[in-house]
């Protein structure tokens, strides 16, 4: 209300009806809660989002419309409200059909001196949450797939230690060292566990492969964490900038049976 008064031209008079029409035209819910956190005012967008008529929601506690799992967070937020608070909270609203809508609410005191009433805006973020869920599911699925493979997928720097920028969890199965131990040579490098007699062969053949920008297949010996020696198959290729500069190497190491 104060904001609307401030922005309008002094000569322009905004009637209550116009003000209500402006608030009703918004695509976010605008809401006022009293000292018991009951709904005192709602715009039309509430009905668009929830399907619940505004008149049925008025004078009811806002928590009546929240998903039960989100009520503890809502209660905590109300307890933490202070004069300068401008809080943000995500929750699920239960629609008239029983479906859920993910929402983001911004809430604040209307007057700095008194704890009530509170004003709030609610934005429907369900599509955004659904998109995030799909992205997360794809990422999670890929990550699980990579980590479960009985092989060591890696991205390494082109140096004599083959410093690992990324290494999959399968490295523990192949080498006996965990991904954390191998990452950025934090404890050990791939170069240091390659058999000393094979180290030059590996280095030279990788450089030849990088020069030719081809995929290279190498077989060499590795010393595992328990001291045993195994033969591995390393299939990799270079990562290049547009100008052809070698940025790193990506590949997969499997134990030869």
């Amino acid at each position: 209300m104060a904001l609307l008064n401030w922005t309008r031209k002094p000569s322009t008079r905004v009637s209550d009806n116009q003000l209500a029409a402006i608030v009703d035209s918004l695509n976010d819910v605008v809401m006022m809660l009293d000292n018991h956190h009951h709904i005192q005012m709602l715009n039309r967008c509430w009905e668009t989002i929830t399907g619940i008529p505004v008149r049925e929601a008025l004078n009811r506690p806002f928590s009546d419309f929240l998903h039960p799992e989100d009520i503890p967070n809502w209660s905590k937020l109300l307890q933490s409200m202070g004069p300068e608070s401008n809080e943000l909270i995500w929750f699920r609203l239960i629609c008239d059909t029983g479906e859920l809508r993910w929402c983001e609410m911004r809430i604040q005191q209307m007057n700095a001196d008194v704890t009530s009433p509170l004003s709030a805006t609610i934005c429907d973020i369900t599509p955004q949450v659904r998109n995030d869920q799909v992205t997360n599911a794809n990422h999670r699925s890929l990550q699980s797939l990579v980590d479960r493979l009985p092989a060591m997928l890696y991205r390494a720097r082109n140096n004599i230690s083959w410093t690992m920028e990324y290494v999959s969890q399968g490295c523990e199965l192949v080498t006996g060292y965990s991904a954390e131990q191998l990452l950025n040579q934090s404890q050990i490098s791939l170069g240091s566990i390659i058999h000393p007699d094979d180290a030059s062969y590996v280095w030279e053949n990788v450089q030849i492969g990088l020069q030719a920008q081809t995929t290279f297949d190498l077989k060499y010996r590795l010393t595992k964490a328990d001291g045993s020696e195994i033969i591995v198959q390393d299939t990799a290729r270079g990562l290049y900038s547009e100008s052809g500069m070698v940025l790193g190497i990506e590949g997969i190491i499997l134990q030869c049976i």
Binding site: P68, E69, K76, Q79, G98, L100, V134, A137, R140, S141
Partner: protein
């Protein structure tokens, strides 16, 4: 020397008690409480919800004996679990706290931050109460409080401390020992179940897996015209071996399920996490159930059915989205929906799954629930499980 001190101490205590008795109405001498005995009773309780009220009744009687009526508190022990938003309020047998009072206690101690004030006002329908809370101890995300509720004025703090110290000490000792004992029992049960599950997995399940392969092969060989007469037997053999294999796998899963969680919500959350890592399906959990409303047996059967449904979704549905909804349709009826947007169930094609569906139905019947499988609203499959609450198994 020691005996003289002891005698002197007892006489002072008796003198003070008698002094307070002197100002109470109908003061009748009662046998002194054996605090060690009460602590032991609590520690050895098999059902704490029955034993604790008995012990509180003894303490309440003692306080009623020594304090004037206006200063008598009502005793409560609160098990507060802020992480799961659960409160369990225990009281002596002659008290019956109102629902409003219980809700207020739940809000003040469990929903909000743990109170730090020495005295807390609780307004109820009829009157207001003053609560003096004593935090006894914390165990496994559960805070145990001793609450003294006063209708009228608060007594002198020193007087209250004098009478409450032994009560606090006894409850603290007894309940801590009870918690430790419960933990030990649960650990022992879990270890036993884990052992049986591992044993079953390594022995019988392996043999049945082998038999399953061989019986299917035998059945295929019996397709040849010269063995046609054997085919009904070979088919039966293959089917029953498959069923036995499935049931054994299910037994292993069940023993793991009962280890995983005590309540349905946690079990479903864990199961969804597990299946999420096996696929790119988006799983959505909509859990609107109050906690601990089912018996462990009901929870476990429900959880099995949900897991079997999720497993079918991952293996056969081709779905990209699955939703699990747990809700109360009304105060009497619990409904669980498991819906996906996949290709739906073809009743003629799902021979291998038919054992799974059959066992799901059997499990539903075991707890008096109704299982229905229908096409989903937007394609896919919708499994509905309805249970009337209160029908114990």
């Amino acid at each position: 020397m020691i005996s003289i001190k002891l005698k002197l101490w007892q006489s002072i205590q008796e003198w003070v008690i008698n002094l307070f008795r002197g100002v109470t109405k109908n003061a009748t001498p009662s046998t002194p409480l054996d605090y060690n005995d009460l602590a032991f009773t609590l520690a050895a309780a098999s059902e704490i919800s029955k034993t604790l009220p008995l012990v509180l009744t003894r303490f309440q009687e003692q306080l009623n004996d020594v304090l004037v009526e206006q200063q008598r508190p009502q005793l409560f022990v609160l098990f507060s679990q802020p992480s799961s938003s659960e409160s369990f309020l225990h009281h002596s047998q002659d008290l019956s706290p109102s629902a409003t009072f219980i809700q207020s206690i739940h809000r003040k101690f469990t929903v909000g931050r743990a109170p730090t004030a020495d005295v807390i006002d609780i307004g109820t329908d009829s009157n207001s109460l003053k609560i003096i809370p004593k935090r006894l101890f914390e165990h496994d995300n559960q805070i145990v409080w001793l609450l003294f509720a006063f209708h009228a004025d608060l007594p002198n703090p020193k007087l209250l401390s004098w009478h409450s110290a032994s009560i606090e000490n006894t409850l603290s000792k007894g309940l801590q020992a009870w918690h430790q004992r419960e933990d030990q029992i649960n650990q022992a049960i879990e270890a036993e179940r884990a052992m049986y599950a591992a044993e079953l997995h390594d022995s019988l399940a392996q043999v049945l897996g082998y038999l399953r392969m061989k019986s299917v092969k035998l059945d295929k060989l019996c397709d040849a015209p010269e063995y046609q007469a054997l085919q009904p037997i070979s088919k039966d053999l293959a089917n029953y071996t498959q069923c036995a294999y499935h049931q054994t796998r299910e037994l292993i899963t069940s023993s793991r399920l009962s280890m995983q969680s005590d309540n349905l919500s946690h079990g479903v959350i864990n199961s969804i996490k597990e299946f999420e890592h096996q696929s790119a399906i988006v799983f959505d959990l909509d859990n609107r159930l109050p906690l601990n409303m089912l018996t462990p047996q009901q929870s476990m059967q429900m959880l099995y059915i949900i897991r079997e449904s999720l497993s079918n979704i991952v293996r056969h549905s081709h779905a990209t989205f699955a939703r699990v909804v747990l809700l109360l349709k009304n105060s009497q009826r619990l409904e669980i929906q498991i819906e996906d947007n996949g290709i739906g169930i073809d009743p003629d094609a799902a021979r291998t799954d038919s054992f799974g569906l059959q066992i799901m139905k059997e499990r539903a019947e075991r707890i008096g629930a109704e299982l229905t499988i229908n096409p989903g609203s937007d394609g896919g499959t919708r499994i509905c499980l309805n249970l009337t609450i209160g029908d114990d198994v």
